[in-house]
Assembly symmetry: D2
Homo-oligomer: 356 residues x 4
C-alpha cells in the first residue's frame, strides 16, 4: 500500500509465501500476472533475469523472515537488481558487510526500510539539528514500547509472534524487531554515531527464547549520552516509539503515535508545537508532505516516503543515499552491529561494548 501510494511504483511480479502453493495462490489473490507469479524467490530471480532488461522488475522488495534476508538480497544484488530489504539487514555482521560490499561493487540502490525516518516531522527534526537550532546535543532518550508480547502468544501459533520469537529465524527479540528502529531513528535525526553501549537484556515471559525487553546506555562520538529502551511486554502500549533530544540550546520531542507534531522546548520561551504541512517547516519536511496541515498523515505515508526516495534514486541512476535521503545498506550494517553489541553486552552483565 505504501509503495503504491504515489502511483510511482507498480506491483508486477512476486514470490509471495514460504511454499510454492501458497505463493501462487497469494499472487492470484493479488492479481499478479500469471507469468510473473513465481512459486519461489529463486524462480523469480531466474524468471526476471530471463526477461529483456527493460521488462524486468526495477527492484525487489524483501519482506521475509529475518534469517532469509541475506541469502535473497545477496542473490538479487549480485544479479544487478536494486534491492529494498526489511530491517534487520542480516543476522551477522559478516553477512551485512558482504551485502554492503556487493551493493557498492554493483552500484545498485540498496534501501533498508527504516520507515519511521520517512516521517515528515522526523525530517524536520533532523533539519533543525543540522541547522544548529538545538545547539550541541547532550542527551538522547529513545523509547519503543509495545505490549503485544506480554504473554507467550508464540506458543499459541500467532504467526507474527512465532517467527519473531524463534532466535533462528529472527536473530533476536525486541532488540531486533523494534530496538533497531529506535537506533536508526536516533542516528538519522542527530547525525551522531554510537561509540559504545552498556545493555540490560531481559526476557520476562517464561519459556520465551528471545529477549522481550532491553535497556541500553549509549555513548556517542563527541560526548553525547543516551538511553534507549525497547520492550514488548509493556501491556497497553501499542506502538509507542518516542524520541527526545536535548542540546545546549533546545530540546525536541516526537511521538510516532502523533506523527504530525514535533515539540521544541527551550529555557527562554514557550514550548513550540510544529505541525506537518505548515509553511514554516524545512524543505526536507515539506517535500515529503502530501496533504494540508490538520489533515493527518500516518504510518503509510511515512513508509511511502522511504519508497519514494528509493524510487527517485533508482530513476536517477545515482545510488548515493545522501542525494536521495533514504536509509541504505550502510544503515542496515550499522543496525546489525548495534544489535550484536547489545546482545553481547547483555550477555556480559552490561559491560561497555564498542560497536564494530
Amino acid at each position: 500500500m505504501a509503495a503504491r501510494l504515489d502511483g510511482e511504483i507498480d506491483f508486477v511480479a512476486g514470490a509471495l509465501s514460504s511454499t510454492p502453493e501458497k505463493s501462487l495462490q497469494s499472487g492470484r489473490d493479488l492479481d499478479l500476472p500469471e507469468a510473473r507469479n513465481y512459486p519461489t524467490w529463486r524462480a523469480m530471480l531466474e524468471g526476471e533475469r530471463a526477461l529483456p532488461e527493460s521488462d524486468r522488475i526495477d527492484f525487489v522488495s524483501i519482506v521475509t523472515p529475518n534469517h532469509t534476508h541475506f541469502e535473497i538480497a545477496k542473490a538479487f544484488a549480485e544479479a544487478g537488481f536494486h534491492v529494498v530489504c526489511d530491517k534487520p539487514l542480516a543476522i551477522s555482521i559478516e553477512q551485512a558487510q558482504e551485502l554492503a560490499r556487493i551493493a557498492s561493487d554493483r552500484k545498485i540502490v540498496f534501501g533498508v526500510t527504516y520507515n519511521y525516518s520517512g516521517s515528515p516531522m522526523i525530517k524536520q527534526a533532523r533539519a533543525m539539528v543540522q541547522d544548529g537550532e538545538l545547539g550541541k546535543i547532550r542527551k538522547v532518550l529513545v523509547e519503543y514500547h509495545q505490549g503485544w508480547l506480554a504473554e507467550r502468544i508464540e506458543a499459541t501459533g500467532q504467526k507474527q509472534a512465532s517467527w519473531r520469537s524463534d532466535p533462528n529465524l529472527s536473530g533476536g527479540g525486541a532488540i531486533v524487531d523494534i530496538g533497531s528502529h529506535a537506533e536508526q531513528l536516533v542516528r538519522y535525526v542527530t547525525g551522531l554515531e554510537i561509540e559504545s553501549l552498556s545493555a540490560n537484556v531481559n526476557t520476562f515471559v517464561e519459556g520465551r527464547e528471545v529477549d522481550d525487553d532491553i535497556n541500553v546506555f549509549l555513548r556517542f562520538e563527541g560526548g553525547a549520552k543516551g538511553v534507549l529502551i525497547a520492550s514488548q511486554v509493556c501491556v497497553g502500549q501499542r506502538n509507542d516509539l518516542t524520541l527526545r533530544l536535548w542540546g545546549t540550546k533546545a530540546g525536541l520531542e516526537w511521538r510516532q503515535e502523533q506523527p504530525n507534531e514535533l515539540i521544541i522546548k527551550s529555557n527562554d520561551g514557550p514550548e513550540q508545537l510544529y505541525s506537518r504541512g505548515e509553511g514554516y517547516l524545512s524543505k526536507s519536511a515539506s517535500d515529503v508532505s502530501r496533504i494540508p496541515p490538520g489533515h493527518p498523515e500516518g504510518f503509510i505515508e511515512g513508509f511511502a516516503n522511504v519508497y519514494r526516495s528509493i524510487a527517485s534514486a533508482i530513476r536517477s541512476g545515482d545510488s548515493n543515499p545522501i542525494h536521495h535521503d533514504y536509509p541504505d545498506v550502510t544503515d542496515g550494517l550499522k543496525g546489525v552491529q548495534f544489535i550484536n553489541a547489545v546482545l553481547e553486552s547483555g550477555h556480559n552483565d552490561g559491560a561497555w561494548t564498542r560497536l564494530s
Copy 2:
C-alpha cells in the same frame, strides 16, 4: 490517492481541468491513456458511452467547483453511470431533489464524499450510539475551525480561496465548505435528524462576498439540542473538526486531527480512550481499519473508506447505501437543505427555520 489506496479502483479516464488544453495536459501528466484523456466532461460522457459497456468507466468522480456539480452529475446519472460527487451535492434544494430522483429512477449508486464519516473511530462512535451505550442523546456540539481565510487571500489569486469565496461558484462560504461536513457527521453518528435551526451567519473579513463564520443552534427530532460552529477565520487552527455528544448515560468526543482516538466519558468511572485497530471495537470500525493499533491512520485512509464502500456497492449491484455504509445522494440533499436553512435563518436575524 484515496481512491487507489486499496487497489480496487483504477484511474482510467478523465477530464481534468476547466479548459480543454489544461485538461489534456493534466491527463498526460497523470499517464492517462490518450484515448480516454478527454478535453471536457461532455466529451468524456460521450466517449465513455461510445465504448462497449464492459469497457466503460464504472463510475465518475466529480471534484469540480460546486456550481457545476448538478449539471455534470445529472448528465452522467441520466446516462446510467454511477456517480461519486463532492459535497455540496448542488446549490439549490430543487437541483439536489432532482439528482435524488434520477439516482432512484436509474438505480445507480450515487455517493457523496463526506469523507470524515469514513473514519474508523467515527464508525465506532456510531455503533456505540446505536447500541445505546450513550443512552438517549441530549446534547451535541460540533465545531469546525480553520484559520486559512482569516485574511482576504481570495483577492491575491489563491486558487482554492478564489472560487470558494465566489458565491456564484461555491453557493456559500464556511457553511458550504466545512459546515456541511459537520452537519453530516452529526447525522451519521447520532442518527438524529435536524428539525429546525437558528443561525448566526457572519463575514468578518472586509470585502469578502461569502460567510466566513457561522454559529447554529440545532433542534433535533426527539428533543436533543445542539450547537454547530464553523469558522474559517480562526487563526492558527488547521482543520479542527471536533464532535462531542452527551447522552443520558455517557459522553463521546472525537477530534479529526487525532482520528485514531475516541474518548468515552461517564459519571460512574474513568474516562476511556478507545484506539483504532483494537480488538474491542465494533465490527464496523474494525472492517475499515487497515493497519495495527498504534500505527496511525489518517485523512487518506478515511477518505479511502468512502470510496471502498461505494466500490463495494457498485460491484454488488445493490445501490442501497445502508447495506454498504456510504453517504449517498439523500445525505447530499439533506446537506443542501441544511445549508439553505442556515443562510435563510442568518438573513432573518437568527429566526428558527425548519429544514425542508
Copy 3:
C-alpha cells in the same frame, strides 16, 4: 483555605450555618473564639459593630445561597464593612444596582468571587489581549460543561443540588451557577462588553425547576461575536471551563482543568504553549504565581489570588478595583444583567436581547 493561603487573612468571626444551633456548632468545630462565634448573620453584624473599630472584622465574606446575598451584603455594606460576596451578586438587577450604589457611597471595597479570573494564565491572556498580541478580537468561544446534574439528584436530598435547583433560592440553574463565571471570564480577558445576546435555554432533566443547559450567541460592542455554552448534564465532564479567542493576529486557548498552561496560535508559526511561572510572562501573571514552573498550582491558588487582591485593596484604603485587579460589585451587576438577559431571551424563543 484560599483566603488563608498567604497568611494575610485570618478567620476571626462567623455565622456559619442556616440555623443558630448549627452555626454555633460549626464555629466550634472550626475553633472560632466563642465571643465571635455568632448564631446568625444579624447577630454577627451587631456584635462586630459593637467592637472598637480596630478590633472588628476587616471584611465579611458571604458564601450563602444566592437569594440571601442581597440582604446580607446590603446590611454589612451600609454599616461600612468591606464585603466579599459569591456570585451571583443578587437575584434582580435592581438589587445589584442598589448594592453598587451603596458600595460607591460608602467607598468600601466590594469584591465578587469570580475566582477563575484569579488564575495566573488568565492574567497572562488578558495582558496579551491588552498588548494587542491577538490583534482585534473577532470570535470568542467559552464553554463550561459539568455532568453532576445529569440526573435529578436534587430529588435525593443532595445538599448542593437541592438549593441550586430551587429557583427561589438560586435564581436559575446552569446560567447562574456556571454560565455567569463564563461571562465574567470573557469580559475580564477580552475587555469587551456584551451588547446583545440570543439564548437557547434548556431543561433536560424531567421535573427540574431550573435550566440545566444554556447556549448563547453573543454580540460584543465593536463587532466581535461569540458563543457561550454552559451545561450541567454533560455526563463525564467535571469542571470543564474552556476559553478560546481568535483575533486578527492570533488565537488563544485556556482550559481550567489545566490552568498552568495557555496556548497561543497563529497562522505564521508553531503553536506556543505558555507555562505559569516562567520568566517570559507578563508582570500581572508573575505577580500572582507562587511556586516555580512545573510545580502545578490549582484552583485554590487562583481563588486565593482574588482574596489577595481584595486584601490589598482593603489595606491600601483604595477601593478602585482596577488598581488592585479584583472583580468588584460592577462585575457582579453585569453578571446579574447577563443572567437576566439570557433567561429573558430564552423565554422569547431566542430573541436578540440587549443587556441593561
Copy 4:
C-alpha cells in the same frame, strides 16, 4: 504554605537563615513572636526546651542545606522533639543510620518530605498495585527532567544553584536533588525494594562540581527491572517527574505536571483516565483530596498531605509511619543508600552495585 494549608499546623517559632541577623529579620518579616524568633537553630533548641512542655513546638521542620540536616535533626531528635526533615536525610549512610536509631529509641515521629508521595493519584496508584490490579510488576520507568541547570548558573551566584552545586553542601547534584525523589516514588508506589543498580553518572556543564545527569538500571527484589533517569540539563523541561509501571495485567502512568490524572492501560480494553476526587477512587486517594473533581489541586496540596499525615501521627502518639502513611526516617535512610550506590556505581563505570 503547605504546612498551614489545613489549619492544623501553626508557625510559632523558627531560626530562619544562616546568620543571626538575617534569621531575626526573616522572623520579623514573617510575624514570628519576638520571644521565639531565634538567631540560630541551637538557640531555638535551647529556647524551646526551656519552655514548659505544653508550650513547646510540637515538631521542628528542617529545610536547610543538605550537609546540615544530620546535625540539626540529631540534636532535636535527641531532645525528644518530633522532626520533619527535607531529603536527603543526611550525606552519609552512617549518619542516616544514626538518625534512624535515635528516632526509634526516642519513639519520635520523624518524617522526611518526599512530597510527591503525598499526591492523591500516587496514593491511588499505590492502592491499585497493592490490590493486584496491575498483576506482578515487571518494568518500571521513572524520569525526572529539569532544565534550569543547563548552564553554569551557580557561577553567577544564583542562590539555589550555588549550594546545590557545591558537593560539600549538597552531597551530590541531580542524584540528590531529584533522583532521590524518583527513587522514593517508585518504592512507595510499587512496594518493591531495589536490590542492585548500574549507574551512568554525567556532568555535562563544564566546571560543575557535581553530577547533572544520571541514568540508572535497577534490579528489584523479586525480579522486576527498571530504569531511573534524572537530569537537570534538559533545556525546556520544568519539573517533569513521570512514573510508568507495567505489570503482567496492566500498566500505569502518572505525570507530576498533570497530577490530577492517572492513566491505566491494558491489552484488553480502552485506556482509562482516572481523575482525582472521583467516587471510584481508593480510600487512600479520597482521604487526601480536598476539592471536587475538575477543580485542580497541585504541588502545595500534595506537600500538605505529607504534613497532615505527620501531624496526625504526632497527635495520635503513634509514630508508626504505616499507620499514618508518611515517608519516615527509614525512607530517608534508603534514599541515602540509593544516592551512595549510584555515585559508587558511576565511579566504577557502571558496575552493578548492591544497596546496603
